[in-house]
């Protein structure tokens, strides 16, 4: 329930649609007429998969910026160069040699598998995106107004109802006055009602019970909720978005959280892991919802924080020597008390539990929040219901001529589903020691 509401508030579906639409529109609007075989979309795809690790459109990376390359070189030369640049250099082409030396002899991969049309598509793509046309004042997208809170509506209704009752009473009084009867003010009516209620023993007994039970109930749940931090969503030192990484770019959770498979900690990736990608992706290429460069062609300030932590000189593309590295001080979201032992590897590797089972739709979170209660009841419920992955050799294979655990479990439980509870997953000492 909570989580559903959260998605709505975050305007998840809206923004996704908007973004897709804008990308399509941008691309179609900027497309230049191309021959039937040349396809800008295909070119983009090929560019991302083959070229992007060394080239950018608008600036030097390992290789030169490619925007407008068709104006600088002939198509024929480009075809030869891209397909096999070493061959072109060997043939004594002066341009080829010059560019090779300009980039300190970095050898570009040969792409013999690309057809002429493929290469032309890539070139068309490099032409399609204007290199310099970056408006400095990026139009900001107005946030969609939040829908009114349900509770607020109820209050408004309540106030109306109260006014309505008062209005009715006044009408009655006015009518009484007209009739010549004894009229009473609203306050007098109210007093009379209260006196009657206070004098009524049954009502008082019932009210006392209701108030007491209600108070205890509320107090109980208030106390039970202490330390339960569902939806805890602290502001992190770097506005890292799991939605962009795990969601849109489909980076596997284990790529960064490597130790989740082996260790009790899932592990926060060290900064050098970030640099595996962010050595090349510095944010200049990120587009906003309107399809315009989000940071006006500058590096993303968030990615710059990674560089500051590890000491990466983005201009010279090298690590700064003797740099005093500053570790990123993340705020821990999922806090278990010290008295409980939790092991990620047990759940991820041995249990085959998806990260999302406990962490929620992490691939949709821009800012991570605590999805689950992380209370003992929550743990226990899952242990009661979850089936053990008994195909693991630990259960399935027999050691030294004895019976395997599976055989022994079958003898005891027959055809029943083997839940974690049945192998002792509810015992205190399994998690508390």
């Amino acid at each position: 329930m909570n989580s559903c509401r959260m998605y709505m508030r975050k305007g998840f579906s809206n923004s996704l649609l908007l973004r897709l639409l804008s990308i399509v529109l941008t691309i179609s609007a900027l497309s230049i007429p191309a021959s039937a075989e040349v396809d800008v979309d295909l070119g983009k795809k090929l560019f991302k998969s083959n070229c992007a690790s060394c080239h950018k459109l608008d600036k030097k990376l390992i290789g030169p910026a490619l925007s407008g390359v068709t104006q600088r070189r002939s198509e024929e030369w480009l075809l030869r160069w891209i397909r096999n640049n070493a061959e072109l250099r060997a043939s004594g082409d002066a341009d080829a040699k010059a560019i090779f030396e300009e980039y300190n002899g970095s050898i570009m991969t040969a792409f013999p598998a690309l057809s002429d049309d493929d290469i032309k598509s890539i070139l068309a793509y490099t032409d399609a995106v204007p290199a310099v046309a970056i408006p400095k004042d990026v139009p900001t997208v107005q946030p969609v107004a939040e829908p009114a809170n349900d509770l607020f509506l109820i209050y408004v209704l309540g106030v109306f109802l109260a006014l309505f009752i008062i209005l009715l009473l006044r009408i009655r009084n006015t009518l009484k006055q007209i009739n010549g009867d004894d009229s009473s003010t609203v306050i007098q009516d109210f007093n009379a009602l209260t006196q009657w209620l206070v004098g009524n023993k049954r009502f008082m007994t019932a009210a006392t019970i209701i108030v007491t039970v209600g108070f205890i109930h509320q107090l109980f749940w208030f106390l039970m909720a202490i330390g339960v931090e569902v939806n805890y969503q602290p502001i992190q030192p770097i506005a890292f978005s799991h939605k962009i990484h795990a969601g849109e770019n489909q980076v596997d959770c284990n790529y960064c959280h490597t130790s989740a498979r082996q260790s009790k900690h899932s592990g926060i990736p060290s900064t050098n892991v970030c640099m595996n990608c962010h050595m090349y992706i510095d944010g200049t290429e990120i587009l906003n919802d309107a399809g315009l460069p989000k940071y006006a062609g500058e590096r993303s300030p968030e990615i710059t924080k990674i560089y500051a932590a590890i000491g990466w000189d983005a201009e010279n593309r090298s690590y700064i020597e003797n740099y005093e590295q500053k570790p990123v001080r993340w705020i821990r979201i999922h806090n278990l008390p010290d008295l409980v032992y939790f092991n990620h590897a047990q759940h991820v590797t041995a249990g085959g539990v998806e990260c999302q089972t406990c962490h929620g739709p992490i691939q949709e979170m821009d800012v991570v929040y605590q999805y689950s209660e992380l209370t003992m009841g929550w743990c226990i419920n899952c242990h009661r219901e979850t089936e053990v992955k008994t195909d693991n050799g630990y259960y399935a294979e027999a050691a030294d001529g004895g019976k395997s655990i599976n055989e022994r479990l079958a003898a005891k439980f027959h055809d029943e589903i083997i839940t974690v509870e049945k192998i002792g997953g509810l015992e205190c000492g399994k998690c508390h020691y």
């Binding site: 490597t258 130790s259 050098n272 821990r332 032992y341 001529g401 022994r408 205190c428």
Partner: protein, 1015 residues
């Protein structure tokens, strides 16, 4: 009539003693420690807080605490910037390295978590001294000792290394100019790279002198072996080749020899035909002596005579031997017979540092043809090379003002040598390179810190067959520099210790990475030892002179033998784990004391009294040895102590070691008994001393707590029906075993694992390494002397020691002594008792009495045969501890991690000491029960590793801390449901029995009957 009838609680009340009066007045026998709970006693007494104020504060603080609890603190998670490849957060990493604390040497594995060393494990079994004793186990805490020296110190103010090196250089040059000596004083050096630097210094400075000393000297013994073999080293002892060990005052199982022989000894003591026989002839009751099959009491001055007498007996020679006591002579005759019957397969060892005794034992071994079989001079051990004569010369030179510069790297001669203190005053410049600002560092011109062994690079040649390296497992915590670097710098070389060690490794033709990975390599160096017959010949030729020396040895009415407790020679005196471990024999913690026989105590007028709360008090004594004396030494009456002898442990009485041990005990080195024994005069001093003893009951009172059988009975009846009878009960269904006579349903223990533990009482020597390992692994708090005295020690695993009594039920029947006297007598340990050790931890009963009485279900049973304890459920009623027949549950009386009362003893009180805590185990809060979990963290870890690899669990894969710390393999842990697992085999052994089996608790721990090789 009813008025006149009185009931007495006991004889005390009838006699109307002081104690009973006090007990009658107070509801509780001792004051409840309420003020201690609340903190400062002083503050409480002077407080003007009224009852109303108290209630106000109470209300406010409750409300404030409740409100504060609603707010979750912000916790940061800080990852590495660049993570080392070898490290996975949450997973342990192991490194092979070498442990050397100045006394012990061991090849070890260090367990590190997130870059912090947290546990010492035994090394590879092919390496020299692979086992870990208590000191090796505890040494990881010495790394995090907050009393370590952090900065170089000059003139009592903090200095820096540039100043220290500059001063040293100047001082050395000045000495050269003045024609004075430049002296280097170290412990025993057997590091090739260090020797190279020393050699370089000798080449560079003509006035350079290098002197080595050991805290507990072996100098005379080394002289003897140097004379016999030409190599200044101890010979190896091969117990596996022996059938009989005869040891004179040599505590070879705990601290005597530099070589670890405990595992070989245990291996040869496996019950069955050909089991090793052990005769111990000694003055103090040592750990080794308490494991002996036969123990003979002797005065230290008689050892030389006895060796001479034995030599005459076994070699038909007829040297004149001084007067020997008649009883001893008879006993020696039988020893001689046994020695002769195992010719070439026996070994005679002698303790102490007497050259004459060492020579005679060599001669005796030669006569018995043991040299080359059990005594192996061809495998010399280089761990001891201290030379007392060189040291005496050094003191003479120092006193004469001939020493200009003195570097003291390692030893602490101000503490453990008499006369060094005053000699040091005549040295122009002295520098102490030390891990702490100890007694010697205080007296030197400057002091500078050296790294702990876990922070250091080093290489060692402990024997002629082994090469070991030491690698750092953590960056140096303080501004320390290795001695070898300081000395190299003096020579104008700027090589790091790592470079020097690497050069040394490569020079031996070894692979650098592989050597580091293994912690060393096997490397044969030619020791150039003469043939065994030549050595034997030499030993026998010189025996006569040795006999004369032995015959003229001082003897007196009272002779003192020095010995070592778990603290050892004093290098790790500031380690609270070593103090908290009860002495294996006396069961006294946090003290050293004069051990004396009951008869001598009676004649001098010493008493040991038990107070109303069970705590032990002892008289004080003054010891006089020649000119030197030691006053107010506590006296402990020790069964088994030879009459006319007393014992005193070294390693105590420190004044500059740190907050844990400063002022603890008395300094036995102050008596200057370099031989290890001497004649003393004991006189009573006024007053009483308070001991902290963990065990009051000394005997088993005729019960089968430790089951014992003699070897002949064991061999004749291997099934054990006569000596391992199981208790039975007569019920309506007939006679059933204790296991079958049940009130409860049985647990399902067949489906999953069933963890069982077997403890072989034959292999257990009682050393206590397991107890320390348990402390480290499970974050068991150290509680200090006061609390141990109150019987609030927190040991999850204890080793009970029982003496045999001279009174047995059979003897009582025969002599018709009456019930009261019988039990009174049975409670007293015998004059020459046999000793048994029994490690007791939570027995993990399958019908656990503790589980049924817990009102909150905090202690419950698991289907893997364990008794779980959920600390956070526990409300501290302590019903479980009361209902436990084994008394293994420990109640957490205080917040040991925070309470100021424990700030000097509990390592977890400072940031540094906390680094040693095991991150996988909770640090328990005040007011809960704790107990052995069978290292459930290791069980869970092992199971998970198997699941990750997708394979079934293997036998021996999961170890408890006590099991891996035990060199002798006395503890076997495993899954009894696994066919042919070691523990299953042990369970089915005829020797196995449960402790208090008749109670019907069905423990998961069982014991193996002790077999004594009696003749």
């Amino acid at each position: 009539m009813a008025k006149e009838k009185l009931y007495w609680k006991g004889f005390d009340q009838l006699a109307n003693t002081e104690v009973s009066k006090r007990l009658a007045e107070n509801e509780f026998s001792e004051d409840l420690p309420i003020d201690q709970f609340l903190g400062d006693d002083n503050l409480m007494a002077n407080s003007s807080t009224s009852r109303r104020d108290f209630l106000k504060y109470l209300g406010f603080s409750t409300a404030a605490a409740t409100l504060a609890a609603c707010e979750q603190p912000i916790i940061e998670s800080i990852p590495y910037v660049v993570k080392p490849d070898s490290l996975t957060p949450g997973m342990p990493t192991y490194y092979a390295t070498t442990y050397l604390d100045g006394q012990d040497f061991a090849s070890i594995l260090v367990k590190t978590r997130e870059g912090r060393p947290i546990k010492i494990e035994p090394g590879d079994k092919t390496r020299f001294n692979w086992g870990t004793n208590g000191r090796a186990q505890a040494s990881v805490l010495s790394l995090y000792d907050s009393s370590r020296l952090r900065q170089p110190i000059k003139d009592d103010t903090e200095s820096d290394w540039v100043t220290i090196s500059g001063d040293l250089k100047n001082a050395v040059e000045e000495s050269v100019n003045d024609g004075k000596q430049f002296m280097l004083l170290t412990g025993s050096i057997f590091s090739p790279s260090f020797k190279l630097v020393v050699e370089d210094l000798r080449q560079t400075y003509a006035n350079f002198v290098h002197v080595e000393i050991d805290a507990v000297s072996s100098s005379e013994v080394l002289d003897v072996w140097e004379g016999l073999t030409g190599v200044r080293a101890m010979p190896s002892i091969d117990i596996t080749a022996a059938n009989l060990v005869v040891s004179f005052n040599e505590d070879f199982l705990s601290s005597g020899t530099p070589q670890q022989v405990a595992s070989d000894y245990a291996f040869r003591r496996k019950p069955g035909k050909g089991m090793l026989r052990h005769i111990q002839i000694e003055s103090n009751l040592s750990l080794t002596g308490s494991n002996a099959d036969k123990r003979i009491k002797i005065k230290p001055s008689q050892i030389g005579l006895s060796l001479s007498y034995l030599l005459n007996q076994v070699s038909d020679s007829n040297y004149s031997v001084g007067k020997i006591d008649k009883v001893l002579k008879n006993q020696l005759d039988s020893v001689a017979k046994e020695l002769m019957s195992s010719n070439g397969k026996s070994v005679v060892l002698v303790g102490g540092n007497s050259g004459a005794n060492a020579y005679l034992s060599a001669a005796l071994n030669a006569a018995l043809k043991n040299i080359g079989t059990t005594i192996r001079p061809d495998k010399p051990i280089y761990l001891r090379s201290g030379n007392d004569r060189a040291f005496e010369n050094a003191i003479v030179d120092m006193n004469a003002g001939r020493v200009g510069t003195l570097i003291i790297a390692g030893p602490n001669p101000v503490y453990n040598r008499v006369g060094f203190d005053s000699a040091l005053k005549n040295v122009n410049y002295s520098l102490s390179l030390n891990d702490r600002f100890d007694e010697t560092s205080v007296a030197t011109t400057a002091a500078a810190p050296v790294p702990h062994y876990l922070e250091s690079w080093a290489d060692y040649v402990p024997t002629n067959l082994d090469f070991s390296v030491s690698q750092p497992v953590i960056r140096p915590l303080f501004n320390s520099r290795p001695t070898i670097e300081v000395l190299s710098e003096l020579l104008g070389k700027t090589k790091s210790a790592k470079d020097l060690v690497k050069e040394s490794v490569l020079a031996k033709g070894l692979n650098w990475s592989q050597t580091l990975h293994d912690g060393g390599a096997s490397l044969k160096i030619d020791a150039r030892i003469p043939s065994f017959t030549e050595i034997s010949g030499r030993a026998l030729v010189g025996a006569e002179i040795a006999m004369e020396t032995a015959g003229s040895m001082d003897s007196g009415a009272m002779e003192l033998s020095l010995y070592q407790k778990t603290v050892g020679a004093g290098y790790q005196s500031n380690n609270p784990w070593l103090h908290e471990l009860p002495d294996p024999i006396s069961r006294v913690c946090w003290d050293n004391y004069l051990t004396i026989s009951a008869a001598d105590a009676l004649s001098i007028g010493f008493v040991n009294e038990t107070q109303s709360n069970g705590a032990l008090d002892g008289s004080l004594a003054n010891i006089q040895s020649g000119e030197l004396s030691l006053n107010n030494v506590p006296v402990l009456i020790q069964p088994g102590q030879a009459s006319g002898t007393v014992g005193l442990a070294v390693g105590y009485g420190r004044s500059q070691v740190g907050k844990v041990a400063d002022g603890l005990g008395v300094n036995a080195y102050a008596l200057n008994l370099l031989k290890g024994f001497g004649v003393v005069k004991i006189t009573p001093a006024g007053g009483m001393h308070e001991f902290a003893s963990t065990q009051l009951g000394n005997t088993m009172m005729g019960r089968k707590i430790v089951n014992e059988v003699s070897l002949s009975d064991f061999v004749n009846d291997p099934k054990g029906s006569s000596w391992n009878e199981k208790p039975t009960f007569h019920t309506l269904d007939g006679t059933v075993s204790a296991d079958e006579a049940n009130l409860w349903e049985n647990h399902d223990h067949e489906t999953m694992h069933m963890w069982n533990m077997s403890i072989d009482l034959n292999s257990c020597h009682g050393c206590g390494a397991c107890v320390i390992a348990c402390h480290i692994e499970n974050n068991v708090p150290v509680v200090g002397k006061e609390e141990v005295r109150n019987f609030r020690d927190m040991h999850w695993l204890r080793i009970d020691r029982y003496y045999s009594s001279d009174m047995t039920p059979e003897r009582a029947d025969m002599e018709d002594v009456g019930v009261v006297k019988k039990y009174a007598e049975m409670e007293k340990p015998g004059v020459s008792p046999e000793v048994v050790f029994q490690p007791v931890m939570c027995q993990h009963c399958n019908h656990a009495p503790c589980e049924t009485v817990c009102p909150v279900g905090a202690t419950v049973h698991s289907r893997e045969g364990l008794n779980h304890m959920a600390y956070n459920r526990c409300i501290g009623t302590r019903y479980c501890a009361n209902n436990c027949p084994y008394k293994v549950r420990r109640f957490n009386w205080f917040n040991y991690q925070k309470n100021e009362q424990f700030s000097s003893v509990n390592p977890a009180q400072d940031d540094l000491g906390r680094m040693v805590l095991n991150p996988d185990v909770t640090v328990r809060a005040r007011g809960v029960m704790e107990k052995c979990t069978m290292c459930i963290q290791n069980i869970q870890y092992g199971k998970l590793e198997a699941k990750k690899a997708g394979r079934p669990l293997k036998d021996g894969e999961i170890n408890t801390a006590c099991e891996s710390a035990c060199d002798t393999g006395a503890i076997t842990f495993g899954d009894v449901n696994l066919p042919n697992s070691a523990v299953q085999i042990a369970k089915n052994d005829s020797r196995s029995y449960h402790l208090l089996e008749e109670v019907g608790t069905q423990p998961s721990v069982f014991y193996q009957t002790k077999v004594r090789n009696r003749v």
